[in-house]
Symmetry: C2
Subunit: 330 residues, 2 copies
């Protein structure tokens, strides 16, 4: 089942069920007005949504419409909690070797996770609006899960049942503020503008064999200004999403609709490229003594997509442009 949220001028948008090929969509508002509501009442809404999805995939429906990836918000335009990991250890090792040589780090023992802002996610074609080119503008290609309510103290073995939906993320990052913020120990704030999400959220069964061990076993395709930048396979996630859930529920419960991200997808093989510029720069620094690739400029574009084994798009594509923030006149 694939779900999306049409922009309608409200903060939460309108829930639609989308056909597997992303060609058509049908309103699901008779079941739940918004995706957040659907996830909060998943026990009641999943069945009717799957039934509607089945009918849409097997024939024309009276109220169906063409699905337009440019007309959607993030599947969850806002949610109660956004927790983003950094659990591809290849990425962690490269960044540590380049930026913090000799620094002790516990990231191989505990999943690294930061608390992000979930109040203002943006859609797959929305501009990335940032204040300055001097901030080291970067994309981060990631995958994420949406969970239902998860109790405190949930163990990894009991966690997978809470994973209801999968999504693709562009976790937009500003690398210059990150240096200061990581130094404080307090995490990221100025460094993290709104994150963007691919057009549809999908139930794990949509991935077939490519979803197992609470990992996605498919490459993430990343292009910068229309050129290949990387296609690292998500299967190299060091901690899986079950382990992430155990980690983040150690001293708190999670509200339904909490989104948990993987962090930048990264592979040991250099031929896979990278899913963020900072990692390529780290490799350049390690291999060649200095980073050569610049960060993004206003007008630059980024494209992030995942194709299944047949070459079909799973989530639709994130396609965004960097734009300078201009205050709205009072």
């Amino acid at each position: 089942m694939k779900l999306a949220t049409l922009k309608d001028g409200t903060r939460d948008g309108t829930l639609v069920v989308v056909s597997r090929d992303l060609a058509r969509a049908v309103p699901a508002t008779g079941i739940a007005p918004t995706l957040l509501d659907a996830v909060e009442r998943w026990d009641e809404t999943e069945g009717p949504l799957r039934e509607l999805s089945g009918r849409l995939d097997t024939g024309a429906l009276d109220d169906e419409a063409v699905f337009d990836e440019a007309a959607v918000a993030a599947p969850l335009p806002r949610t109660w909690q956004w927790l983003d990991g950094s659990v591809f250890q290849n990425h962690g090792r490269l960044m540590a070797a380049a930026l913090h040589p000799g620094k002790e780090n516990s990231y191989e023992e505990y999943p690294l996770v930061y608390q992000g802002a979930g109040d203002d996610f943006i859609g797959p074609r929305d501009d990335i609006v940032v204040p300055s080119e001097d901030d080291g503008i970067d994309f981060e290609g990631e995958i994420a899960v949406v969970v239902d309510a998860v109790p405190m103290g949930t163990k990894a073995d009991d966690a997978e049942e809470h994973i209801k939906l999968l999504m693709l993320v562009n976790d937009v990052s500003l690398r210059i503020p990150i240096r200061r913020e990581i130094g404080t120990g307090f995490g990221f704030l100025n460094a993290k503008p709104s994150s963007a999400f691919a057009p549809v959220a999908v139930t794990p069964d949509e991935l077939g064999d490519a979803w197992h061990d609470a990992r996605i076993h498919l490459p993430l395709e990343v292009e910068w200004n229309g050129e290949w930048f990387g296609s690292p396979n998500c299967r190299e996630m060091t901690f899986d999403f079950r382990q992430l859930i155990e980690h983040v529920t150690r001293s708190r419960r999670l509200s339904a609709g909490t989104v948990i991200g993987s962090g930048t997808v990264s592979n040991e093989s250099r031929s896979a490229g990278s899913a963020c510029i900072a990692e390529r720069r780290a490799i350049e620094l390690i291999d060649e003594g200095a980073p050569k690739t610049p960060f993004m400029s206003f007008g630059d574009t980024v494209r992030i997509e995942m194709l299944d084994q047949t070459g079909a798009t799973v989530f639709g594509a994130i396609e965004q442009r960097i734009v300078q923030y201009a205050p709205v006149p009072a």
Copy 2:
């Protein structure tokens, strides 16, 4: 105007207007069902809420009831964003001197702020439910503001109009996980269980002369197990809430209902005591070579309250007990 949220079995509770002396309350659901809704439509709701508040404070209303501080949730039981500062530099200097001597820090130049979890705030009499006494259980007495929608790039000079409500917070902290998490640079997660809030949120005018320069000029009274622990005055906040808003909107906008905290209230004068155990332990370490005061145990209580110049309670009291988490049987 004073506002509170009655527990009613839903996640967002029921909005009530509370009399200035906290003795009586009247439902405000005809104006807005929840405080979050009221803040999201503040231009429409503030006038009617103030009108109702005025009538409650000047005479008996048919639908009024006794206000019971034990029957309320946090004023905002959940909200879209919780940003907590640490901007009493006396606290920062003590913690740095005790725990990170020699470490460079930019906290005197930039406000320190971490992104917290706003999905699950607890009420003023709710138990603090934590997994282990070995985690270094601590309270943090703080003040906080609730803002309406704030644009990206808001300057301090334009920020005060966005401050709609003031609250008291117990930012429960687990000091052992903090050590590891601050070392990662990624901020706090395991270290921060749900924060608790005093019974009512108040408009800034309720403080009269004690609110100016976007600071509260009153002491915060903190008791641990019924004994005085500290009464530091909030006026020593180094960055005020206008400066905090400028800082946190540098690369993003804030949704209406965002809560911004001050961090542990702390005064240079040692006679003011402390608003968290970690600070007292830091002082002991600096003065006597080792911390002597233990962290909290199961069954311990904490009380946090603010009295105005006449000795009347402003927000009502936070009174909580530490309880071990027990999984709910499936």
